[in-house]
C-alpha cells in the first residue's frame, strides 16, 4: 500500500478539525469560517477559470471538485454548529424542567404509615 501525500494531508486536516470542534470553536469562529467558505465558494462559481487554476495548483484536478470540497467543509462546520446549538438548547430545557420540578414537590396527602418527618 502506498500512501499519498494528499492522504496524510487529509488525515492531519481531520485531526485539526477534531481539535477545533472539541477545544477551540465558538459560535463566532464557526461563523467566520462559514463566511469565508461561502464567499470563497461564490468567487469560485463566478470565476471558473480561477477555480480550475487553484484546483490544479493544489493537485485536486477539476475546479468542480474543488467546489465540492468547499461545500463539504461548509457542511461539516455547519453540522458542528447546529449540534452545539442543540446541546445548548437541551441544557436550557433541562434547567427549565428541573426548576419547575423543584418548585412543585408533591407530597401525598395520605397520612403516612411510617412518618419520615421529624415531628415531636
Amino acid at each position: 500500500m502506498n500512501i499519498q501525500l494528499s492522504q496524510i494531508f487529509l488525515v492531519i486536516a481531520l485531526l485539526i478539525f477534531g481539535l477545533y470542534v472539541f477545544r477551540v470553536r465558538t459560535v463566532l469562529t464557526d461563523r467566520i469560517v462559514l463566511l469565508i467558505l461561502a464567499i470563497g465558494g461564490l468567487v469560485l462559481v463566478i470565476h471558473p477559470n480561477l477555480s480550475m487554476w487553484v484546483a490544479n495548483r493544489i493537485g485536486i484536478g477539476r475546479g468542480t471538485d474543488l467546489l465540492l470540497y468547499v461545500f463539504i467543509l461548509f457542511s461539516m462546520f455547519n453540522f458542528v454548529g447546529i449540534s452545539s446549538e442543540l446541546k445548548k438548547i437541551e441544557r436550557q430545557l433541562t434547567e427549565v424542567v428541573r426548576q419547575q420540578a423543584l418548585q412543585n414537590p408533591q407530597i401525598s396527602s395520605k397520612e403516612a404509615p411510617t412518618q419520615t418527618n421529624k415531628s415531636p
Partner: protein, 231 residues
Amino acid sequence: MIPYKPSDVCVIVPAYNESRTISQVLTNLLPYGYHVVVVDDGSSDNTTEAVLLFPVILLHHAVNLGQGAALQTGITYALKLPNIRFIVTFDADGQHTVEDIPILLEPLTTGEFDIVLGSRFIKGGLAVNIGYRRYFLLRLATYFTWLVTRLRLTDTHNGMRALTVQAATRISITQNRMAHASEILAQIANMKLRYCERPVKVIYTSYSRGKGQTWLESINILWDIIRGNLR
C-alpha cells in the same frame, strides 16, 4: 465513627414508566425511615399515581429528560432539605435490595470516604439472573472506565451509590441520559474524591432486563460522551 439517624439519609429514586415496580420498591424502602424522593421523569403511565399513595416526596419532570437528569434533579432537591448528611441513589425497577443501603452508608460514617459505589461483582456482591451478554458488556465497561479514568472498579454501571452531601454538592451531572454513570466516575477521578466499592445484590427479572441496557445502547452512551465534549 459518627452514627447516623435514618432521617440523615435521603434516597433518590429516578423513575420512568415504572408503575409495575415502583409500589413494591417504595413499600420495601419506607420502613427504614429514610427520606425518599422519587423523580418522575415524565412518565406516560401511572407512575405518579402509584407514587402518591406513599408518604414520599415526588418531583415531576414535565418531559422525559433521561435518568441522569432525574438523578441531578433529585440530588439538587435533597441538598435543599435540612439536616441531610448522606444521599443514596436507588433504581425504581426493583433490581436493588434495600438491605444494601446501610452497607453502602457504613464507609461514609467514618469520614474516610466521599462516595461509595455499589458493586454486584465484588466479593459478597451478587448478580442474579444476569445473563452472559450483560455480564460481558459490564466487564467491558469496567475496562473502558479504567482506560479513561484509571479508576480501579469492579462495577461501573451500578445504579446504587451513596455519597456525602459535600460530594453531592461538587458532583454535577450534565449527561441527561445513560452516560451519567460514566460522567460521575470521571468527576470522581478529576476531583480526586475518596471512593470505595461495597457489595450489593442485583436481581434481574425479565422486566428489569427489558428496561436495562443492551449492547446497542452502549453506542448511545459513547455517542453522548463524545457529544458532551463538544464545545
